[in-house]
Amino acid sequence: MQRRLVRRIGRYVGSIAAVGLTTGVLFSLRHWLNTSTVALLYLLPVGLSAALWGLGPGLGAALVAFFGFNYLFLPPYFTLSVMQPDNLIALLVFLVVAVVISQLLGRIQENLVRARAREHEAIHASEMIKALTGLSNPQGIAAMLADRVLKTFLADHVEVSLQIDAGEDSERVVLPLAIALPREHPTKVLAVQGMNRLLGEIRLWRSAGSFFPEEDRLLGIFASEAALALERSLLAQAENRARVLEQSDTLKSALLSSVSHELRTPLATIMASVSSLRTGEVDWHEEARQELLSAIEEETDHLNQLVGNLLDMSRIEAGILRPQRSWNLLSEVIQSVLRRMRKHTSHHRILVEVPEDLPLVPLDFIQIEQVFTNLLDNSIKYSPPGTSVRIRASILDDKQLIVEVSNEGPPVPAEYLARMFGKFSRLPGVESVTGTGLGLSICKGIIEAHGGRIWAENQPSGLAFRFTLPLDLEGLSAAQPVQT
């Protein structure tokens, strides 16, 4: 690096200049100064040079001062020979003192420089570590490493490539952006070595000068910190993947146990009833026969509903539940649901409060019917017979409709209000009520696919489910027919 060389030469020039200046001053005052004072005064620039610029310039100053002292101030003047023995001693003592001072001061200076360099290194390294700690993705780590290397080493070009998985393409970052890499060999190439394998490499181009050992060391620190960060992020990713797998595994076994139980219960009833009717040993009363037959019918309905729910759930999971929205009257949907659920709702009072002038709503008839079915089913299951279930709808603002299905059942603990809409979520302590815990999560899937929201609220009288539906279809509201 040229700058360093210039600075170094500058120091020597400075130290020689200092001695020169001293020589000039002393020479002009030579008639008033004796030899020993001159020698003492000569130590000043020597000490100064050593203190300011280090050992080399100090020694240089000592040498120049030695010759200057001898040549100008020791008789015979203007020669390098010495006449009197005591002058020779003085000269030698001067040289020794000057050299010792230079060495001492120079060493201190060098230590100081080294300490500063270490401090510098430590600052860069810690900045690098700080910058890397927040990063969890390999792309970010590669980009950060390249950026730091470029700035810290004043490089012209930096290329960092990190390989995330063995055998996969590596993440490559080139800085400065949009400038092609030079054709010549990089000034420095350093491997980023992980615990078990090579993670990548740093390539650096710098036209100005070669690399100093301390820079080498710093670059090494950068590389190993980046390797650590990368391995940390890979570990975190692996852990995350493992957790997701574990969760989906738990989910699947929850599904299997819940579904197999839910499917077997009605099947058991059907099987028992059918085989009872078939057996020739018992002569069933007409009443008992009817009882068994209606059990079969009800359980078959139940099974059918269950299979429908499972299918809906898997459609939502697969992301293929796309509503076919068209203009509908909400009252017509509710009417259709109530007609179909008539048998099911016979132990409750169903009150419908839907204003007659409610605008048409863009919705998928079948899917919203399913939402009402599941909400009503839920309301009926969890509220005592003889109580009311209320269906209300109103305009929330000019963009949304709000619908409420409320019952007079017990309140739900606050922490379950949101969790109720999760998959296989069943309220604790209600094991006697049958269900897969799929109904509400299906509602959520359908309402969200419609662009609405669904939630539950405890009210003084009971529990209320609420959902919103957008009133526009692709930005349009319902066209009004010309009345004829």
Partner: protein
Amino acid sequence: MTQEPHVLVIDDEPQILRAMRTILAAKRFRVTTASRGEEGLALAAAQPPDLIILDLSLPDLDGIEVCSRIREWSQVPIIVLSVRDAEKDKVAALDRGADDYLTKPFGIEELLARVRVALRHSTQASGSKQVVVHAGDLEIDLSSHVVRKGPEEVKLTGTEYKLLAHLASNAGRVLTHRGILLAVWGPADSDHVEYLRVYMRQLRKKLEDNPDEPQFLLTEPGLGYRFLADA
């Protein structure tokens, strides 16, 4: 009808075929079955049935395709069988001439009711059209355009009457949104399902005792409407 009505069931599931054969035979129908579309088409041509029950998911041919191929040469009533959530297929089959549909699984009363309606419709179609349609206390005279609810005459606008007349003259059948819009409003408005919704609400308000629990003007979820007349 002097002889037993002949029903052709086309379905690929042997259990369904077995159940249909047993039930329909017990109800004095003559039953032929086919487990593939091509076989069904061949059977329908060889011994023309009085009614076809057609499953929409067949291994060889699309049920909708079977439906339109039968309609090329026959007006025999067709009832399609399908699962829930297959509304698109049901609409397609109904638009191509199927008369009714049943969602699997279905109860036997439902099946027999649909079969009876379809058979009655086909005899009417071959004979003279019913001019006065009765449904509860409603009386719709299709020749004089007079609609009465009990003793009172109900005033309907032109479009309301056109809609009601279309539904009533197809009483018992499922009419798709598109089919109704085409017949009443014409091709230009066949996509404006919102018109139909508005007019159905008006009709229900004028004709039903409780418009929220209609007895005659029934909604067929996701498909269309059906007018339920007295048998």
